[in-house]
């Protein structure tokens, strides 16, 4: 299953909650305000770095660019909308709204 997160990790518990439930190996997609979790240097970086040891984590390019997020945590994979669709082809979606 592809767990999708669209909320900022510093003000919302969505990312933490999804990571608790998503089994090891399942991919996570950050989009909309969720892409702030991909930013290097934020207080949630350790949470995301730990998660990267267990999950492939993707961040949506359009949302990163919109928000001026240029320095990403190592290991985050950037995908465009075409890549978002490719992930959906491979996995049913669990929107963690």
């Amino acid at each position: 299953m592809l767990y999708t997160i669209n909320k900022s990790p510093l003000m919302f518990g969505n990312l933490k909650s999804a990571l608790r439930i998503a089994p090891e190996g399942e991919p996570v997609l950050l989009y909309e305000d969720g892409v702030y979790a991909a930013a290097h240097g934020a207080a949630t970086e350790a949470l995301v770095a730990d998660a990267l040891a267990k999950h492939p984590i993707f961040a949506l390019k359009a949302d990163l660019e919109a928000r001026g997020i240029t320095r990403l945590i190592d290991g985050i994979r950037v995908v465009d909308y075409d890549g978002f669709v490719a992930l959906v082809e491979e996995h049913p979606v669990v929107p963690w709204l």
Partner: protein, 119 residues
């Protein structure tokens, strides 16, 4: 397609419409030959708390509605136990008999349904 849908309830009732619409969608799609399994996680467990009374807000009690769902063919209710515990609640506080699952059990339910409708 197996026509199984997991309705994922993660939000608190009354502050927003999602719990009420999740409930309405459970009824609305359940009558169309879809096997609906309802999973309560995070603030979603608050939908099941006893003694809800929003009459002073001129709203209808959502807690009253869940026990009647089996009459409409929906009887799969699962609660994420850690979410319940974090809120100081136990199964005795809930309006229905729900199955408790841990993190892995919640994930397994979502994966087995294949289609997830989040509210």
């Amino acid at each position: 397609m197996e026509n199984t849908v997991a309705v994922l309830m993660r939000k608190a009732p009354y502050g927003s419409v999602y719990t009420a619409e999740g409930l309405r969608s459970i009824l609305g799609i359940g009558v169309f030959e879809i096997d609906v399994r309802v999973l309560f996680v995070d603030d979603g467990v608050y939908a099941l708390v006893k003694n809800q009374d929003p009459s002073v807000l001129d709203m209808k009690s959502l807690g009253d509605a869940f026990p009647s769902l089996p009459e409409f063919g929906v009887s799969s209710f699962t609660v994420h136990a850690p979410s319940l515990a974090e809120r100081g609640l136990s199964v005795e506080d809930l309006v229905i008999d729900a199955e408790l699952v841990d993190d892995a059990g919640a994930a397994a339910l979502l994966a087995s349904a294949g289609t997830v409708l989040p509210f």
